[in-house]
Every structure is written in structure tokens, then in C-alpha cells.
């Protein structure tokens, strides 16, 4: 019983963590809370869907699911392409909206409000193109396998937990071991000094949108695989994402992942013990508690 809660929590948490890593990076470098980040998840999920359908149609039925997973080669290819397209979408939104505001020296609250607008516009576009009816990558039913400790999990679920961890470790290594990563951390701490030491901050901003968009697409596609694809899926995840970012400490990648896992586990626990209708309240409780008790989060700087 408790093992099953743990698994549910880990799954939701890995997904939240993955989305939160992208959010914490854009938050720390662009210095505003991007409320349109959830829509990058939704767009990523829908782009994966459309591309996998397109690839499936072009290749005929030759791309069967990779046993034992429900995931097909078509969806994997589509996912990779969708990551690139979501990154392009993030860059486009920045170019059309946020970059203009930055150039004008707009205050953070103006940029946050603009991101609200972007969020609504992007979500409405999805409803326009895809309707609000839920969609699925695969109608195939998966049988949960019994695992030690009386836990049952589908192969997809285990694959996604693994994938999330690989992605987060990759981002962490990028930040700590590469020139790009060090430059990103430098810009996040002090953009003016970063320029003085020769870092092209505009290039770093582009890199952050690309990484954030690709990670959002991964998280969105994961969420679509585990539950369903809806235009509101990303928006509904926004609160848990921010809870994870703030709990982990803004700018901290390991913090965002750990925060995501903790929020996911708390949610699963709340669903079991209090009731499913309280799931959304958990993220609120976490944000409030962190801001009151430890505003710097687990590893980062103040929110």
C-alpha cells in the first residue's frame, strides 16, 4: 500500500521535477516567473502527438510499439522533433514578447503579467487547433507488472522515471562541467558582470529558452503518456511546478528535481489520506510553508 503511494508520488514527482528544472533555469536567468511555462509543456505534448501521427502515417504501420512499452519508434522520433519545435516556440515567444519588454527595461511584474497573457494565448491556440477533448498517444492497454514490496507499475511508468532522472543529470552536468553551463550560472548571478567578463548574455538567454523548451516538451509528453493530453494540462501543472522551484531554491537544478519529487510524493500522500480533491492544495501548502519557513528553499537563493 505505502509502496504504491511512493511509486505514484515518484512518477508525478519526476514529471513535475522535469518541468520545474526548465522553469528554474528561465526564472534564474531571465529574472521573472514565466507563467507561460505550463503552455510549453502542453504544446510539447501536442507537437509530439501530431508528429507521431504524421510519422506513423508516412511509415505505414511498420513502427510497432517497442515491447514491453506502449511507446513506438514513431513517438520517440516525434518526441525528439517536438523538443526542437518547442524550443523554437519558446524562442519565438521571447522574440515577440519578452525581448521587447527587456529592451524597454520593463519591471519584473510587467513581464510576469505579459507571460500570463502569453499563457492564455498559447492555450487558446491549442484549443482552437485540437479542441479541448482529451487525446492519447496510444489506446493500447498496459498491464501493470508486480514489483517487489507489493507495488504494481506499468513498463511505461518505469521507463519515464528513468528518463526523467537521466535528463536531470544531463542538465546538471551541463551546468557544472561546460563553458555554456558556467556562463549560464554567471549570468544568473550578475548579468552586468557577465558582460564585463566577455559573456554574450543574449546568447545565454537563447540557450536557456532552448533548454527550457526542450525539457518542457519532455515533461509534457511524459504527462501525456501517463494521463492524457489536454490544452489545460500544462496550466494545471503550473502550481506544482512553482512549488517545486521554490522548494528547491530558485536556480538550483538538483533542487528543482528534488522539489518536484517531494511535491509529487506529498500529492500522492494527500490523495490517499485526505482525498483526491485536495491534490491541488498540496502545492499551495508547500509554497506557503517554504516562503514562511525557508525562503531560500533547499539549495537556492530567495524567491
Amino acid at each position: 500500500m505505502s509502496g504504491q503511494i511512493l511509486l505514484e508520488g515518484l512518477l508525478a514527482g519526476a514529471m513535475i521535477g522535469l518541468g520545474a528544472v526548465g522553469l528554474t533555469l528561465t526564472y534564474s536567468i531571465l529574472r521573472f516567473a514565466n507563467f507561460a511555462h505550463g503552455e510549453l509543456l502542453s504544446w510539447g505534448a501536442y507537437l509530439s502527438l501530431s508528429l507521431s501521427l504524421a510519422i506513423g502515417a508516412v511509415s505505414g504501420a511498420s513502427l510497432a510499439p517497442l515491447d514491453p512499452f506502449s511507446v513506438s519508434v514513431a513517438l520517440i522520433l516525434a518526441g525528439l522533433l517536438a523538443m526542437a519545435l518547442t524550443a523554437v516556440l519558446a524562442l519565438a515567444v521571447d522574440h515577440l514578447l519578452f525581448a521587447r519588454l527587456r529592451r524597454r527595461g520593463a519591471t519584473a511584474i510587467i513581464v510576469v503579467m505579459a507571460s500570463f497573457g502569453a499563457s492564455m494565448a498559447l492555450r487558446s491556440l491549442l484549443e482552437f487547433f485540437y479542441t479541448s477533448k482529451p487525446a492519447y498517444y496510444s489506446r493500447e492497454l498496459q498491464i501493470a507488472m508486480p514489483l517487489p514490496g507489493g507495488i504494481r507499475a506499468t513498463p511505461d511508468q518505469l521507463l519515464l522515471i528513468g528518463l526523467a532522472f537521466v535528463a536531470v543529470i544531463a542538465v546538471h552536468l551541463l551546468l557544472t562541467r561546460t563553458d555554456l553551463g558556467r556562463a549560464m550560472r554567471a549570468v544568473s548571478e550578475n548579468p552586468a558582470l557577465a558582460g564585463v567578463v566577455g559573456i554574450d548574455t543574449a546568447k545565454i538567454v537563447r540557450a536557456v529558452w532552448i533548454i527550457g523548451g526542450a525539457l518542457a516538451c519532455t515533461a509534457g509528453t511524459m504527462s501525456g503518456l501517463l494521463v492524457q493530453i489536454r490544452p489545460y494540462m500544462g496550466f494545471d501543472l503550473l502550481l506544482p511546478l512553482f512549488a517545486a522551484v521554490i522548494l528547491g531554491g530558485i536556480g538550483s537544478v538538483p533542487g528543482a528535481m528534488l522539489g518536484g519529487l517531494l511535491v509529487g510524493l506529498c500529492e500522492a500522500l494527500a490523495v490517499q489520506t485526505i482525498g483526491a480533491e485536495w491534490r491541488a492544495a498540496v502545492a499551495f501548502a508547500v509554497i506557503t510553508a517554504v516562503l514562511v519557513l525557508r525562503p531560500t528553499g533547499l539549495f537556492g537563493r530567495a524567491a
Binding site: D179, R182, A183, R185, A186, E189, N190, A192, L193, A194, G195, V196, V197, G198, I199, D200, T201
Partner: protein, 258 residues
């Protein structure tokens, strides 16, 4: 006067009619002609609010220019983005927040080394660590844990890492202990003797005149006086005329202005 217009094309650093300020209609630097000759060590002095810091920040690309031109070793670098200025050979050490506190000492050097060709980076970082034993003893430590003097050392090492054509420092003595200040100034003399021209903004007038070869005095955004440092140091009227009533005691040794 060494600021002859004919010297501009080849001088390591030259400004012509430089106008700068945070707001276009509120210039703080109001048209400065200045030339830094090869191997020179010039200190920028002046009363509080004269525009000393704004002048060097404008050169480093941190304050918008609204007129005039900027030349580095004969190249017109007016209006280049600040990250390009470093690549052209202009190194700047800001007065405050001049290191990345959340990066390690080595990482602080690595981010700066990224403008160098890949093959030279490691060797330049090693050379800087060798020149600053205080930093070399624990390159993996977070720079945020360094003392004021060590931070200034790291900021200077980072600026020198790229072998700049010109080194500009904005009040490096601010907030340091008297011992750290004299160490810092001894370093600057050494760096200058190795051939790097230096432009130094200082509140600490006597100490600055003791190490610089020439001094320029800014008053209300204009260059009002330009003389060999030794002449100024020997002239008791200069302080009263240009540096305000408290000139001699304006900045007691080692005391910052913050």
C-alpha cells in the same frame, strides 16, 4: 598635455568628446577628451559626484554613451556591446560585485577564459593561479567566501587573464583594510611595469598619486586638470582647487566610500 589629438589613432585608449549618463537628457560625463599612452599609469581623481566612475563605466560599456567616440589601440570601439570590448582587449574591474560569488575561484577564471582560444585557456588560468598564491591554495572554494582583499585579487586576476591591452579599475581600494590596499597598489605597479597601461579611479588621492605617473582631475563631468602625478602631489593648492574642501582627508587610507 599628453592628450594631443594626433596621438589618438595608436594610443592604447582614447576618448574624444565622450558624453555618457544613465538618461540621455542627464549626461554625467559631459564631453571628455582623454588619451592613455602606452605603458602609462593614469589615475582619475575628483570630488564626489564628478563623474569618475561613470567615465570608466561608460568606457567599459556599463553606462550608455550619448556622444563622442572611444578608441582602443587605434580601433573605433564606440558603441560595441560590453562582451565585445573584452575581446578587443579592454579589461574592467568594477568597484563592487566584481566576482561571481556562487562560482568557485577556478570557475570565475574559467568563465573569463572562454574568450580566449581553447588551446590557451588552461595555461592562462594556471599562470594566474601561480601569480596569486592566495587563490591557488583552494581553487575549488566558492568565491563568495573570500575576504575583500582576496576578492579584489580574484577580480584583478580575472581581468589580466585575457592579457588585456588596457586595464581599468574603479576604486579597487574601497572597503579594503590598509594592508590589503598597499598590497593591491603594489600589485598594480607590478602589472603596469609588465607593460599594461592602467586607468585607475581612486578616492584615496595621496596613495593614487604615489603610484600613478599622471593624474587627471574631473569636475562636474569635465576633465579640468591633467598633470604628472608627482607635480600634483607636490602642489598644495590642487587639493583645495579641484578636489573639494576635504581633499587631503577625503578618503583616509583604506576607508571606502560606501
Amino acid at each position: 598635455m599628453t592628450t594631443a589629438a594626433s596621438a589618438a589613432p595608436t594610443a592604447p585608449l582614447a576618448t574624444r568628446g565622450l558624453v555618457a549618463g544613465y538618461e540621455p537628457d542627464l549626461p554625467i560625463v559631459k564631453g571628455i577628451d582623454f588619451t592613455l599612452a602606452p605603458g602609462e599609469f593614469v589615475t582619475v581623481l575628483g570630488p564626489n559626484g564628478a563623474g569618475k566612475s561613470t567615465f570608466v563605466k561608460a568606457i567599459a560599456g556599463l553606462v550608455p554613451l550619448h556622444g563622442g567616440s572611444l578608441h582602443l589601440s587605434g580601433r573605433d570601439i564606440t558603441g560595441l556591446p560590453r562582451h565585445e570590448l573584452v575581446r578587443q582587449g579592454l579589461a574592467f574591474v568594477p568597484q563592487t560585485e566584481n566576482i561571481f560569488a556562487t562560482l568557485t575561484i577556478r570557475e570565475n577564471l574559467q568563465v573569463a577564459a572562454a574568450v580566449l582560444p581553447k588551446a590557451e585557456r588552461q595555461q592562462r588560468i594556471d599562470a594566474m593561479l601561480a601569480a596569486y598564491p592566495d587563490l591557488a591554495s583552494r581553487p575549488g572554494a566558492l568565491a563568495g567566501g573570500l575576504s575583500g582583499g582576496q576578492r579584489q585579487m580574484l577580480a584583478t586576476a580575472r581581468a589580466l587573464l585575457v592579457e588585456p591591452k588596457v586595464l581599468i579599475l574603479d576604486e579597487p581600494s574601497a572597503g579594503l583594510s590598509p594592508k590589503a590596499v598597499s598590497e593591491m597598489f603594489a600589485r598594480l605597479v607590478e602589472i603596469n611595469r609588465s607593460g599594461v597601461p592602467i586607468l585607475l579611479v581612486e578616492q584615496n588621492v595621496r596613495a593614487a598619486l604615489a603610484i600613478a605617473s599622471r593624474a587627471v582631475i574631473l569636475v562636474d563631468g569635465l576633465l579640468r586638470h591633467d598633470a604628472p602625478a608627482a607635480d600634483l602631489a607636490a602642489d598644495p593648492d590642487i587639493g583645495r582647487l579641484f578636489l573639494g574642501a576635504h581633499a587631503d582627508g577625503a578618503a583616509p587610507a583604506g576607508e571606502g566610500t560606501r
